[in-house]
């Protein structure tokens, strides 16, 4: 009893001490840094498409950007939601645009490109590249999440996994040679699922407070 009173007294003595930055700011900084790291890796290790200027104005690249961009924004909002105890669940609606784009991309692929990509190794290279590009994001976003108060570490880790995979994917879109929307929708999402699994396992261990 007395030890609890002592504890309360010492906790209360730090009342009003201002902490560094808000959770939103920490997430924003980590997100920007993650994107910068992923872009740097794309330019330095993988290399952007040689016909980039030509590709950048066409629909497939637009779809890649829209799909991964909506996923980045959606999971970013959801990550803030899981980092805050008893937050409003309407944050989950932020994933709706991604889901719509995913369904449209798979069901109505206007390009007619094969689902398995242009070459036999396209899927492995594509998924592997996204996983590689998302690693810095994963570290940075986990650090930001530790500033929050995730009450479901497993879910929080999975969300961080998808968020970092989508940051990796948006950078990889500059290099990706496969333009089929179904290819993008299926295999970019597969990379996100793999990162979600990894994130859940890591989150279960790392996100305790």
């Amino acid at each position: 009893m007395t030890s609890t009173d002592d504890l309360i007294h010492s906790l209360a003595s730090t009342a009003g001490a201002r902490r560094s930055a808000s959770l939103q700011a920490a997430f924003a900084v980590a997100g920007a840094a993650s994107l910068a790291c992923a872009l740097f890796l794309v330019f330095s290790v993988i290399g952007i498409r040689h016909d980039f200027a030509d590709m950048a104005v066409r629909m497939p690249f637009g779809f890649k950007l829209a799909y991964t961009g909506s996923l980045v924004i959606g999971t970013f909002v959801v990550a803030l939601y899981v980092a805050t105890p008893a937050a409003s669940a309407t944050a989950l609606c932020a994933l709706l645009p991604t889901i719509i784009l995913l369904a449209l991309g798979v069901l109505f692929d206007p390009t007619g490109f094969p689902i398995m990509g242009r070459t036999s190794t396209a899927v492995v290279f594509c998924v592997g590249s996204i996983l590689f590009l998302s690693l810095p994001a994963m570290i940075l976003m986990f650090r930001a999440m530790q500033k929050g108060a995730p009450t479901r570490p497993l879910v929080a880790g999975a969300v961080i996994g998808v968020l970092s995979a989508s940051i990796g994917a948006i950078a990889y879109a500059l290099a990706c040679k496969n333009d089929g929307t179904a290819f993008v929708a299926i295999w970019y999402t597969a990379a996100c699922a793999i990162m979600a699994l990894i994130g859940a396992v890591v989150g279960h261990r790392v996100l305790r407070w």
């Binding site: 504890l7 906790l11 209360a12 959770l23 980092a83 937050a87």
Partner: protein, 201 residues
């Protein structure tokens, strides 16, 4: 106090903390501690944990509340926020305790091998191992035990060979068995008495 009053009171305490009013914040933390203590202790007892562990958990929740107080949005109600934190800490606490208990009563492979190494196999043990066990006996007892129990001689023959009576031989074996049983006592979990035991040998 109704839920609405409590909500208002504690939310006000949290806002006081943000203004740097330590006293109001301390009063609010004490009220939270009292409320938690009252509700958590019976729950933990029902879950098979001691009532004193409720105090540990109350402290954990208070530390969590304080460490993550910035994640409470003052535009949203305080009680659901506190509930999410208390629930997380309760789950984390019980999981931690379960893991601790499991580790304490764990059955490592070495212990398991000792268990399944049944006495029925003893006939197959090499001779040196029998000698190793018999080494705890004084030389006179060891000779007699080996002759009868290992080599299979009769009590009468041993008595004749060592020029004593059968009664003395039986008595010697009886004392030797007592000694062997003492040496074969199962090792206790605390290492210190075992070490003492080893030194006595």
């Amino acid at each position: 106090m109704t839920v609405e009053q409590r909500e208002q009171r504690w939310a006000e305490g949290m806002l006081a903390e943000r203004r740097g009013e330590a006293l109001a914040y301390e009063r609010m933390l004490k009220e939270v501690a009292t409320a938690l203590r009252r509700s958590l202790a019976p729950r933990l007892v029902r879950a098979g944990l001691g009532a004193h562990e409720a105090e540990d958990l109350v402290q954990e929740i208070l530390i969590g509340l304080h460490a993550k107080r910035d994640t409470w949005d003052s535009a949203r109600p305080f009680l659901p926020w506190l509930h999410a934190i208390a629930r997380y800490k309760l789950i984390d606490f019980t999981r931690h305790r379960r893991r601790e208990t499991r580790r304490r009563v764990d059955l490592p492979l070495e212990d398991w091998l000792e268990i399944v190494e049944s006495p029925a196999d003893e006939a197959n043990h090499p001779m040196w191992e029998v000698d190793r066990h018999l080494a705890v006996l004084p030389v006179s007892q060891r000779k007699i035990v080996r002759a009868i129990a290992v080599e299979g001689a009769s009590v009468r023959n041993v008595a004749l060979g060592s020029a004593t009576s059968e009664g003395v031989i039986r008595m010697t074996i009886h004392r030797a068995i007592g000694r062997l049983l003492g040496a074969a006592e199962p090792p206790t979990s605390e290492p210190s008495p075992r070490n003492e035991h080893d030194q006595h040998r």
